[in-house]
């Protein structure tokens, strides 16, 4: 039996280099976030760029978010949460179903479909907004509930793009789930749907959680389409609502924007923390050992 000689005596604590690497990254990561935090407390409204420890501190910017009647911040957060969560859930379902079909089934047009999905994501969309706007203007005249200016219509547009992104994202992971599981289940008499719901879904939970999280954050921070679409002040999302502080030609007021973004980032990080359980994984390994 070979004796492993890879254990070296070391004067450094365990995982020393790992910690160093992480801390370098953390400093790199946190520096701009530190600027965001200081800007949120800076009453002059600028993105303090040169002073490391600002001289002025005040809670004005946070107060603006909760007292101005032209800033219904909590409504915006609610709208963002609703649309981001619905989008995350439905797009995960759509993505999982599509990825399952592309990965497990053989049908005419499968390769073509996969390539088409990739190509469609690649197209530079200068006029996409114009086309969607005109379409939804028309839809508004017939169905105002899902037309221009409605959260429902915006959700539909986000879902439209979700298949392309998520199918590819998930297909690679699904390919690694061994076919033996499927075959074992079918021998037991399961239909394709049952394989999908009862076997595949639980196994892919970590990846689905990651997809849902990415989709959630993406929707939360999206503002180009949303600012075009959501005109009424009470239907805006956080990203759109905060634009009013910095979208002007001159006189951007970064204070409330930074404050609003920080507050909105808290639920995002909280959701991520709660999903860490899934991302840690271990479910896959359990199933294949049997």
């Amino acid at each position: 039996m070979t004796i492993r000689t890879s254990e070296k005596r070391s004067f450094l604590p365990k995982d020393f280099w790992s910690h160093i690497f992480i801390w370098v990254l953390i400093l790199f990561t946190l520096f701009p976030i530190y600027v965001v935090i200081t800007s949120s407390f800076n009453p002059t409204g600028s993105l303090a760029t040169s002073e490391l420890w600002p001289k002025l501190w005040s809670l004005d910017n946070y107060k603006v978010l909760f007292t101005l009647e032209s800033v219904p911040y909590l409504t915006w957060v609610k709208n963002s949460m609703i649309i981001a969560s619905i989008n995350a859930v439905i797009s995960v379902f759509i993505g999982a179903a599509s990825a399952f079909a592309f990965s497990r089934m053989r049908f005419k047009g499968r390769k073509f479909g996969l390539q088409a999905l990739l190509l469609v994501q690649v197209f530079p969309s200068f006029l996409a907004l114009a086309a969607i706007y005109v379409m939804m203007e028309h839809v508004y005249t017939v169905f105002p509930v899902i037309g221009l200016g409605s959260l429902g219509g915006l959700l539909l547009i986000y879902l439209g793009g979700s298949m392309g992104v998520n199918a590819w994202l998930l297909k690679g992971y699904i390919d690694t789930i061994p076919m033996e599981l499927d075959e074992a289940a079918r021998i037991d008499g399961a239909s394709t749907f049952q394989v999908y719901w009862l076997i595949f879904f639980p196994l892919a939970a970590p990846v689905l959680a990651v997809t849902a999280l990415l989709s959630f954050i993406g929707t939360f921070n999206e503002f180009v389409l949303a600012s075009l679409f959501l005109q009424d002040i009470n239907s805006r999302t956080v990203a759109v609502g905060l634009q009013q502080f910095v979208g002007q030609q001159f006189g951007q007021n970064w204070g409330p924007f930074a404050a609003g973004s920080l507050l909105a980032a808290i639920p995002l990080v909280a959701i991520f923390l709660s999903m860490q359980r899934f991302i840690i994984g271990g479910l896959t390994q359990g199933a294949t050992k049997g």
């Binding site: 600028s46 760029t49 002025l56 114009a130 508004y140 009013q244 001159f250």
Partner: protein, 415 residues
């Protein structure tokens, strides 16, 4: 199996037909005049005219506003008669763009409008001899000086500013002399103070588009004299890129900016005075850009069947009463002459006074890039080359003027 399927289909069809009796919620009621605005003017207009029945009797006014000017511009570009506004408010550049594309309708230049609004404001809204909008208020910058650093009175001449800077630079740790908060757009006052600028002005104040004032002999000499040191490098007096925080921190004594920044400057604790940019002598001043924002009547109003009512609203926008109310909420100097005379707010007055020494901003000319780049990019290149890289003043300005000449000539012929 087939019978069952027919049964299901039958049930479904019956249900659907029953449900289709339900009415679909409708969109806008007739006789609504929709006004679009950006995130600043929108809430103000909402307070003033939303739901108002006296401005245009028989019509309802609805104000819709976007979260940012970019969003407004973007939606306006994409709008069609199906969902477009009847009136839109925005910067003066909307006039030429909208006229060319046919989205704006010509306004009848009634006597009431022409008599109550100065020529400069009206010409900013004119394209190809047609009036397309009503100027609402003035968009311009003013000169500020830090009273704690420099003193209670404004500097008399440009030379005074420069000498203050050179004398106190190391003692007070100054990082600059004058800060143009808004970059190349805001720095025009400095250019004109030193004898330069975009184009020369005729005696009657109109722009002479055949000349470029940027490479005049006087300007070249003055740049070397006041802004560069003996070896041709920048003295650091002229700042235009990211210097706002330094002014707010008291490290730069003078600045050029507009009312939108006054709040932040006050909060930073700087006590400042307002005025016009000092020129070379005590009686000459630098001329900054004066832009207008206006309200425009769209051609969609006619297709929506509300053009007469929209005309009435436009009349309100041009009236003294309307402009006075809007100015009170926005803090910006109104365009209407009578309303402007009645302003009492001191910082609004300060900006209004500065506007008197300004030069009208002809956006289509400044944005034109036939020569390769537009005015703002060319100026940015000039500043970088001269002040950051230390290149030759004469050569740089001549190269810039060559590009600008093409731009202005193209604007003069095509508009």
């Amino acid at each position: 199996m087939n019978k069952k399927r027919f049964g299901v289909v039958g049930f479904v069809a019956a249900a659907a037909l029953a449900v289709s009796g339900l009415a679909v919620p409708t969109a806008n009621a007739a006789n609504t005049i929709v006004v679009w605005a950006d995130e600043q003017r929108g809430p103000q207009l909402e307070k003033l005219i939303e739901g108002n029945k006296t401005i245009a009797p028989g019509y309802t006014i609805q104000v819709k506003y976007f979260s940012a000017l970019d969003a407004l511009q973007s939606a306006w570009d994409k709008s069609t008669a199906a969902g477009g506004p009847d009136i839109i408010t925005g910067p003066a550049s909307f006039a030429s763009q909208g006229a060319k594309s046919g989205k704006l309708a010509r306004l009848g230049a009634s006597a009431t409008i022409t008599n109550s609004i100065p020529k400069a404001g009206l010409s900013a809204m004119t394209y190809s001899k047609g009036l397309y909008g009503v100027p609402l208020d003035v968009d311009t910058t003013a000169f500020l000086w830090n009273k704690t650093l420099f003193g209670a009175d404004a500097p008399a001449t440009f030379a005074d500013m420069v000498s203050y800077y050179t004398t106190n630079k190391s003692a007070k740790g100054l990082t600059g002399g004058i800060c143009a908060f808004e970059g190349t757009w805001g720095s025009h006052a400095v250019l004109t103070a030193l004898g330069g600028g975009a184009w020369a002005l005729n005696k009657n104040g109109t722009a002479n588009m055949n000349t470029v004032a940027l490479n005049s002999k006087t300007f070249k000499a003055n740049v070397k004299k006041y802004l560069l040191d003996s070896s041709g490098k920048s003295t650091g007096f002229f700042q235009w890129d990211g210097c706002g925080d330094a002014f707010k921190a008291g490290k730069i004594p003078f600045a050029i900016t507009g009312a939108w920044n006054f709040d932040g400057i006050e909060k930073a604790g700087v006590k400042f005075g307002l005025g016009a940019t000092p020129g070379l002598t005590s009686s000459t001043k630098g001329a900054q850009w004066v832009n207008y924002s206006g309200a425009f009547l769209t051609s969609y109003a006619a297709s929506h069947g509300v053009s007469l009512g929209a005309n009435k609203v436009m009349k309100w926008f041009a009236s003294e009463a309307g402009q006075a109310k809007m100015s009170a909420l926005s803090g910006r100097p109104p365009a209407n002459t009578a309303a402007a005379g009645a302003v009492t707010n001191p910082s609004t007055l300060g900006v209004a006074k500065a506007a008197l020494t300004g030069t009208p901003q002809i956006s289509p000319a400044l944005d034109n890039k036939t020569g390769g780049s537009n005015w703002y990019d060319v100026l940015g290149g000039v500043y970088t080359d001269i002040f950051t890289k230390g290149k030759s003043v004469d050569a740089t300005l001549d190269a810039a003027a060559a590009i600008l000449a093409k731009n202005f000539a193209n604007y003069a012929t095509n508009g």
